[in-house]
């Protein structure tokens, strides 16, 4: 298995996907920053010319100055062109990388077990796909080349300066070394590090409070707690600002030394230059060198400051990349390449599954479901019904035990074959922002229009569709084109009709209101169940009273199986459920005695 890189080296690894483009971009960035330095040297050249004929301007080498001016102009052009080319290349590379990453993430999301999504919000995953990936752009398109340039520029300059005069170069570097030393000292000290931690913690607390303040505002208002909630809000913001304040005050002196030294090249250069030039062999001979250092020494401050800034900024990006990698490196499901089996009997053999370690959602469950029968699955919520259905659909794999269709374990089927054998009507149907036709056609891409309509009719949704402004071509979710919850579910049933799989898992929806819809859905359900192997998760016990077999689940175990009448006698759990159901159904908001 490849080693997983993190932090800065992971960023480089991501950038490595467009190695050539980015190397070229960095090279161009370095050239452009070198071109930007050229004026320093042409000015130096001009000064040299001037010194040669300082007191006799008429004898000056005017052509050389013209040439140096031309070089300076050329350097400006080179700078502009290279900087543009570098930025164009690096941005193209960056957006290509992001695009590829997003596609990769999308594909990956399709392959990892759905269990991965429990405990994560859709918003959170969306953020990873759209925002966190975007951060890669900042690094690849900006930081990478900027870092190359920010390192190259001072290095070039320093190398050149060393060649000119090593003593003065050291003097130039001295204040910068002092600055960096001070900065590091400041950050490393334990009490300062503690301040950083407090700043980070208080910032998190503040952000959490702000989010709660807003999300919980309706509750806060209803209970007239807005003053006290506001006080907490205020005090958490206050705590953060106080932390910033303390940290800033603690760092104020070292930081001001840092900045002061960073700009203090001349303070060191001036006396050193005076000292050296007075001892030089020839005053006029050494003068250009002194002038060059005075010039560049003062100009070195900004590129060096930029470099420091870059190093600090890159550290922040790695957070987002880490979240992205969590998806990219998540373990995948493995699929075999078995063919469709001859029979569709379902077998659960000692199946156990847990979402979290220690809490088993399904425990050692064994049972068989014969082809062509209707099986009801009932039990209290949290009893493991949905998990069992999820296991059958391979949203997750059991930690132990095996599930088989025919004689073949689920994991040996390719995903495609599996999806042709089993279809699932979810409790909440997901409708895509697309035409009605395409939404139904998800079930079967090759189906012709007649088949689509037939499926819609079977799902009792055809009339509703025809009443939409553009019939089957109406785009759902667009202005005015809206389906109620029950209608959405019928649309989802139409998909399954079109899919026509031998096994169907139905999750009886609980979340719709009007009875007319309900009746239609039930009718569609019944049609769908004809001649198929059906597993139905029932919330209303009446629904499955006539099922060929009823499975009763509680706390992850199968506590009873059989037909309604048998279970009433043999299974206390089932009897309790039926009783509770009766009581629920005759509950009244107003107690009877109140009306007497």
């Amino acid at each position: 298995m490849e080693k997983k890189k993190t932090g800065f080296s992971r960023l480089l690894e991501l950038a490595g996907r467009k190695k050539r483009k980015l190397l070229a971009a960095c090279a161009l960035a370095v050239i452009s920053s070198a071109a930007k330095l050229i004026p320093f040297f042409t000015v130096y050249g001009v000064i040299k010319v001037l010194l040669e004929s300082y007191n006799d301007v008429s004898g000056m080498d005017g052509n050389r100055i013209t040439m140096l001016s031309a070089i300076t102009l050329g350097a400006a052009l080179l700078y502009g062109v290279c900087a543009y080319a570098s930025s164009a290349l690096s941005h193209t590379a960056a957006y290509d990388i992001i695009f590829e990453l997003r596609i990769k993430l999308m594909e990956k999301l399709g392959r990892i077990p759905s269990g991965f999504f429990t405990g994560k919000t859709q918003g959170g995953i969306k953020k990873i796909l759209s925002d966190d990936t975007e951060q890669v752009e900042i690094f690849v398109a900006h930081h990478l080349c900027d870092i190359a340039a920010a390192i190259a520029t001072p290095v070039f300059t320093l190398v050149y300066l060393f060649v000119m005069d090593w003593r003065l170069s050291l003097i130039t570097l001295l204040p910068i070394f002092i600055s960096i030393f001070l900065l590091v000292m400041c950050l490393v000290k334990p009490d300062k590090a503690a301040l950083q931690v407090e700043m980070h913690d208080s910032q998190e607390a503040m952000q959490g409070t702000i989010v709660q303040y807003i999300h919980g505002m309706p509750v806060i208002k209803v209970f007239n707690r807005s003053i006290s909630a506001f006080r907490k809000y205020e005090s958490d913001i206050d705590r953060f600002v106080t932390a910033v304040d303390t940290t800033a005050r603690a760092n104020a002196w070292p930081m001001s030394f840092y900045y002061a030294f960073f700009g203090a090249q001349l303070l060191f250069l001036l006396p050193a230059s005076a000292y050296l030039i007075l001892r030089a062999d020839s005053y006029i001979g050494y003068l250009p060198v002194v002038l060059l250092f005075l010039l560049v020494g003062t100009g070195l401050k900004e590129p060096m400051e930029n470099m420091m800034q870059m190093v600090i900024l890159s550290g922040r990006i790695t957070e987002g990349v880490k979240r992205m990698d969590e998806i990219l490196y998540a373990p995948e499901m493995e699929y075999g390449n078995a063919d469709m089996p001859k029979t569709f009997d379902l077998t659960f053999d000692h199946v156990s599954f847990s979402y979290e370690e220690g809490i088993q959602a399904v425990k050692e469950l064994s049972c068989q479901i014969k082809q062509g029968t209707v099986t009801g699955l009932v039990g209290p919520s949290g009893g493991g019904k949905s998990t069992l259905a999820g296991l059958l659909l391979r949203f997750y794999d059991p930690q132990s035990g095996v599930i088989k269709i025919g004689d073949t374990p689920l994991s040996e089927f390719p995903a495609e074959v599996l999806s042709r054998m089993i279809s699932y009507v979810f409790q909440e149907s997901f409708i895509f922002h697309d035409t009605v036709e395409n939404n139904i056609r998800m079930g079967n891409k090759e189906a012709d229009m007649e088949q689509v309509i037939e499926a819609a009719k079977a799902a009792e949704i055809h009339d509703v569709i025809m009443a939409l402004p553009n019939g089957y071509q109406s785009v759902l979710g667009e202005k005015g084109v809206y389906l109620s919850g029950g209608e959405q579910q019928r649309l989802a049933i139409a998909r399954v009709f079109l899919r026509d799989t031998p096994i169907v898992v139905l999750d009886e929806a609980t979340a719709y209101a009007d009875a007319e819809n309900e009746a239609k859905i039930q009718k569609a359900f019944a049609k769908l169940a004809e001649n198929k192997t059906v597993l139905i998760i029932a919330h209303r016990l009446k629904t499955i009273e006539n099922a060929d077999r009823i499975l009763v689940m509680k706390e992850g175990r199968l506590v009873g199986q059989g037909q309604h009448d048998e279970l009433l006698l043999s299974c206390t759990e089932y009897k309790n459920l039926v009783d509770a159901n009766e009581r629920r159904n005759c509950w009244n908001i107003k107690r009877m005695e109140a009306r007497v």
């Binding site: 004026p39 001009v46 001037l50 010194l51 007191n55 301007v57 008429s58 070089i71 300076t72 102009l73 400006a76 502009g80 062109v81 900087a83 164009a88 695009f99 596609i103 999308m106 999301l109 859709q122 918003g123 969306k126 303040y213 309706p218 509750v219 806060i220 007239n224 205020e234 953060f240 760092n251 104020a252 001001s256 030394f257 900045y259 002061a260 203090a264 001036l270 230059s273 007075l278 005053y283 005075l294 100009g299 209707v374 919520s381 279809s423 699932y424 922002h433 998800m442 998909r495 609980t510 719709y512 009007d514 009875a515 009746a519 009446k542 006539n546 309790n576 509770a580 005759c586 509950w587």
Partner: protein, 589 residues
């Protein structure tokens, strides 16, 4: 000018004066930072003296003077920088803090309707990200602007004293480059719009993909098969590249090129003037030295201009939020007498679409009224108008004879308990979450309420009982448990009016029976308005109101409505049938 002032007001979070103070200090700071540059030019002059007049040697005393200036600058700057540093860290954090707190206070006063119509996630983005954006922007742009202003004014003053023609050569490139920067900004804005649309598409596409991943998987369409999203992402990629390679970069690069030509220009013009004897050598050198560092801050400013649109948008969102008006509150302290509620000729709409039309309805004190009807018929709008989420467009809502607009929000909400379907739990202990109902409640009272709401047992089964922390949004409790916690809150509050939205999604029967118990405890002796979905549970309500498309179509008690054989009777029969439905019926017959 006033447009600029408004913009500046927005970007400084309304604390213009404080920002001006910070800006002036920044100017001073950059002035002091610039001193070494001036000293450098003087040093060059001093070093040239022996060349200028042969025979003299380097005037060491003057070098000492310059060194003295540098030392003084260094020491002085230490103190100046210390204040600047504190200003930067604390000053800006302080302005953000002030504005954030103002915003918190402002949000607190906005109506419930505002919160139910706005996405809470968007609102918190404003409070978190937009503020940070503005803060960073101010921290970066102010010193930049200050540096530019100082360097320029010094350069203009000093250089024009030397030679006006040369000064023109230095500055001519700036007006030449400026149009490119402006053009770049304009183009960015235009292309930015394109990018924005494709970004929005991509982002809703991604959300759809993540939300529908199970469905897609079930139909084997996940991953590459979802072509549409792939195309959208590709479009976004193209738009983003276009903005960089076609809009922003080329234009601003030409600007940069033009700016950097300045040095060559000065060099060339200077040499001609020099040879014509119209410029002293030292002045020439001084000009060359100064042009080297004068253009960099202008370049930085160019880049900041590009970010300007984005930051301005953040500022505008903050301003917009401040401009949301709370519902008008009358000063009078009229207290409702009793809890009879009455709607008189009430019409109301969200935006343009009216959802309630001339509704007249009264809810007698301590009676139970059920609102039934298809979704979108206006049931929940009625309850929300009673709690004054919004004000009616016409007609009045009164509680105890007093219009809700004449009652203070505290008084009004103090009289009402709402139990809605979505329950928000705070990241706090269970006890604190229940205590939301009444902060002064004793622990015993909290437990008492929890017992009545059928919460006590599951709470005691949690690792720390009542002291167990519940997660953000209360994610560690099941839906039914959250419902019961919210009922416990309401029980603790013990308000005389109860607005109840019966859960549409049924839980397992046992869980539901417990919730039903809790509700029974809650509504005893109260004025109750319930949005009902299951007719059975409200069949003995004192009053059943059937709504359709914003109008009352039937009203009465269960028996009288059944006799009418209208909509209610039809719904009742359908529900009974659906409730008795059995799968396999076709098979067995």
């Amino acid at each position: 000018m006033s447009a600029f002032r408004k913009w500046f007001h927005t970007m400084t979070l309304g604390q213009t004066k404080k920002y001006m103070k910070l800006l002036i200090w920044c100017l001073f700071d950059s002035f002091v930072v610039s001193i070494p540059y001036a000293v450098m030019v003087m040093a060059v002059y001093v070093f040239l003296i022996p060349v200028d007049s042969p025979g003299t040697s380097l005037p060491v005393d003057r070098v000492w003077i310059l060194l003295g200036i540098l030392i003084a600058q260094f020491v002085g700057y230490l103190f100046i920088r210390k204040k600047s540093y504190l200003d930067f860290c604390i000053g800006f954090a302080g302005t953000t803090k002030t504005s954030r707190i103002e915003m918190g206070e402002h949000l607190r006063k906005l109506s419930m309707g505002f919160f139910s119509s706005r996405d809470a996630g968007d609102l918190s983005t404003v409070l978190l990200r937009d503020y940070t954006e503005i803060e960073t922007f101010a921290q970066q742009i102010l010193p930049q602007v200050a540096t530019i202003l100082i360097r320029f004014s010094i350069a203009v003053v000093v250089l024009s004293a030397f030679d006006v023609r040369m000064m023109l050569a230095v500055f001519i490139v700036i007006p030449l480059a400026l149009p490119f920067a402006v053009l770049s900004m304009k183009k960015m804005e235009k292309e930015g719009l394109l990018l924005q649309t494709s970004q929005q598409q991509a982002s809703s596409g991604i959300l759809e993909y993540v939300g529908g991943i199970r469905t897609l998987k079930a139909f084997h369409m996940a991953g590459n098969h979802f072509v549409r999203l792939k195309n959208t992402l590709d479009e976004q990629r193209k738009a983003a590249i276009a903005i960089e390679t076609r809009a922003a970069a080329p234009v601003s690069m030409i600007g940069r090129f033009v700016l950097n030509c300045g040095i060559g220009l000065v060099m060339f013009v200077g040499s001609i003037l020099l040879m014509a004897g119209k410029l002293a050598v030292f002045y020439y050198i001084a000009f060359l030295l100064l042009t080297l560092t004068i253009y960099d801050p202008v370049l930085s400013l160019f880049t900041f201009i590009a970010d300007l649109t984005r930051t301005t948008r953040s500022g505008r969102r903050i301003r917009d939020l401040f401009e949301e008006l709370p519902l008008p509150e009358k000063k009078g302290d009229r207290k409702p007498e009793g809890t009879a509620i009455e709607l008189k000729d009430v019409s109301f709409g969200y935006g343009e679409k009216e959802v309630l039309h001339h509704v007249d309805l009264s809810f007698p004190e301590k009676s139970v009224t059920a609102l039934v009807g298809p979704s979108g018929s206006g049931k929940s709008t009625i309850t929300k108008l009673i709690a004054r989420f919004w004000d009616t467009d016409s007609g009045t809502v009164t509680i105890g004879g007093v219009p809700v607009t004449d009652i203070t929000t505290e008084e009004l909400l103090g009289n009402i308990s709402m139990v809605f379907q979505d329950v928000y739990l705070f990241r706090d202990t269970i006890e604190a979450n229940i205590r939301m109902g009444r902060s002064s409640a004793t622990r015993e009272e909290v437990i008492e309420a929890a017992k009545k709401a059928a919460c006590h047992e599951f709470i005691m089964a949690l690792p720390d009982g009542y002291d167990t922390m519940v997660g953000e949004g209360g994610s560690t409790l099941s839906g039914g448990e959250k419902q019961r916690i919210s009922i416990a809150r309401a029980l603790l509050k013990d308000a005389p009016v109860i607005l109840l939205d019966e859960a549409t999604s049924s839980l397992d029967p046992e869980n539901e029976v417990m919730i039903q118990h809790a509700i029974s405890a809650l509504v005893e002796n109260k004025t109750v308005i319930v949005i009902a979905h299951r007719l059975q549970s409200i069949s003995n309500a004192d009053q059943i109101v059937v709504l359709d498309e914003g109008r009352i179509v039937e009203k009465g008690n269960h028996e009288s409505l059944l006799e009418k054989k209208g909509i209610y009777a039809k719904m009742w029969n359908e529900q009974n049938q659906a409730g008795n439905w059995r799968i396999n019926e076709l098979k067995n017959t």
